[in-house]
Subunit: 211 residues, 2 copies
Amino acid sequence: MTAGRQIDFWFLIGSTYSYLSVMRLQSVEASSGIRFNWRPFNAREIMVEQNNRPFVGKPVKSAYMWRDIERRAGKYGIPIRTPAPYPLTQLEFANQVAVVAAEEGWCAAYTMATYRRWFQMGLEPGKDPNLSDSLREAGQDPDRVIREARSERIANALKAATDSARALGIFGSPTFAVGNEIFWGDDRLDDAIAWSQHGTLQSQPGAPAPH
Amino acid sequence: MTAGRQIDFWFLIGSTYSYLSVMRLQSVEASSGIRFNWRPFNAREIMVEQNNRPFVGKPVKSAYMWRDIERRAGKYGIPIRTPAPYPLTQLEFANQVAVVAAEEGWCAAYTMATYRRWFQMGLEPGKDPNLSDSLREAGQDPDRVIREARSERIANALKAATDSARALGIFGSPTFAVGNEIFWGDDRLDDAIAWSQHGTLQSQPGAPAPH
């Protein structure tokens, strides 16, 4: 019953919790039959507009965030070395590269490659060696892609994507969108899947009740 | 294997997401054999100290919060009428009453009663009619409890509880603590249970892998 279903995966390279989603969407696709559309946008721009700064200047909450991500990576069997460099210095450019990747159809490959270097090797996205190595891993020529990603056209495309996210009420990364229904956080992926299948989170007849 | 296990349930009456935990802990206790210690504390005081204001002045994130809680209440089969009055005007007093209740052993009954009136009937905790009706539902004399809750001893006990939470690194409500390991958010209850049973979130041999 799930064939052909799609979920928009709105993400920012630079979001920490998004690592957990980036690393498991392919296996979720394989097991659920749902297709994810990878949609990079500048969540940080929206967060600054909305005075939403969950970690900057919040050392207690930040320490918890790393511990929580580390525990959940263990739960999902995803390797991790924390803390990773944060916040990113080349955030916007890392995501402009993702916009090129989305246009050309290798966004998942690039995003997984750059996140893996960030969270497993401590290398920042958006600059070398992470940048060029991730592009090569995704089968691309770094010089060509970096030139394209620096163009005004791509900068505008990232802004347009951010505008689309803002119009949907999206305020952070990752967000899963099923039509106009949005689910924020890696920990809402199951809810988004259930919504895409049933249009509700209420228990289905015959399904085991969640506790 | 879980007999005798305990989890500290740190909560603030006034936290919206805590409604989901308050309303389901008893059934979780029944199905898991884990006992929850209800520990009221002043999360707002800690949040103000840490400049952590997740919803005040953030209309987009607040609108999402209500929608998310409404959807998840549906998932858990918990009745809800949103938005409930927020933030609470009598937050500190509502929690001083909870401290009396915790000392005397009827904290779960009071907290469930007052949250039900708040989230199902739109009546604020910490003031009438919610306050007295919830106390009566918990089998208590409102006059006696209200007098006791206004005492300096109880005000100090709430401060001491808040100090204990702060020392554990707790910064929000609800938080589940398994020894020194803390799990923040209603959506981390399953993680806290797994941790209390296995001391890790990593998949156990023979257990089905989470996706």
